[in-house]
Amino acid sequence: MGLLNRLDNPYEGGGIVLGTVEDLLNWGRSKSNWYLHFGLACCAIEFMAMNASHFDFMRFGTIPRTSPRQADFIMVTGTVTLKMAERIKILYEQMAEPKYVISVGSCSNCGGPYWEHGYHVLKGVDKIIPVDVYIPGCPPRPEAFEEGMIQLQKKISQQAIFNKRKKLAAEDKNQ
């Protein structure tokens, strides 16, 4: 339930929309996402196309940042080598809350072509940081980037902010 979704079900009599503070905060968080771009390999080349005028990534409210202090999510695009994994871990830790992760491409999802004999490649960035959205592809098309971004916005607009533990505990019981 996002704030804009509530426009479809106005208060009886119409004209009045009631929402929660959580909706408002999630609305702001999901529609203004600055990202720490972590281009590691060929997925980053595809990401250039994503940022250019054809696909226009900025319409999602995203601005590329070079410092984790100003970033809301980190976009890991490419092969995560074991050397780079330590840096990614530090950069993720240095981001301010709330923080999210998008893993782009087969390499950062699961190791990609290096899944078996890549002695120097981390088999999936989710081994070191919690990933919110996986974008499959080798490399993914820019349309796939857009889909991933929309999925992340959906995830943020549904997240619990207040009484997080209570809500999550209720969800666990239902499962």
């Binding site: 840096r87 530090i90 950069l91």
Partner: protein, 136 residues
Amino acid sequence: MISEFGIILLFIILGVVFVGIALAAAAIVRPSHPNPVKNSTYECGEIPIGEPWVRFNVRFYVIALVFLLFDVEVVFLLPWAVVFKQLGWFAFIEMIVFVIILFAGFAYVWGKGDLNWEKPKPHIPKLEDLVVGKKN
């Protein structure tokens, strides 16, 4: 009555209050989960070595001064070079005189030995110096 300086005081008070409100609002709204890694200096993911506040040797100051001299010289040389053809020989000779004056200063600094890297000469006492009654 508020005097002229009273208005400045008002501005200072308002500035402090305004910044205070902004910081307080941010402190109420934002999530705060500090940890040692997050609080460490951002160095592009590297683990920082040593303090970021590095001290420079005081002996660099002469070099910095001489650099400033030639830095300003370039500022004068560039517009001259742009309109070099229109100005003709007179400006060329004038500029040569200007550069010669600057290089005279440079030669003076060089000749004076100010560009020499002075190494500290610690006085290490030798056994002979300690002998009583001996004069150097």
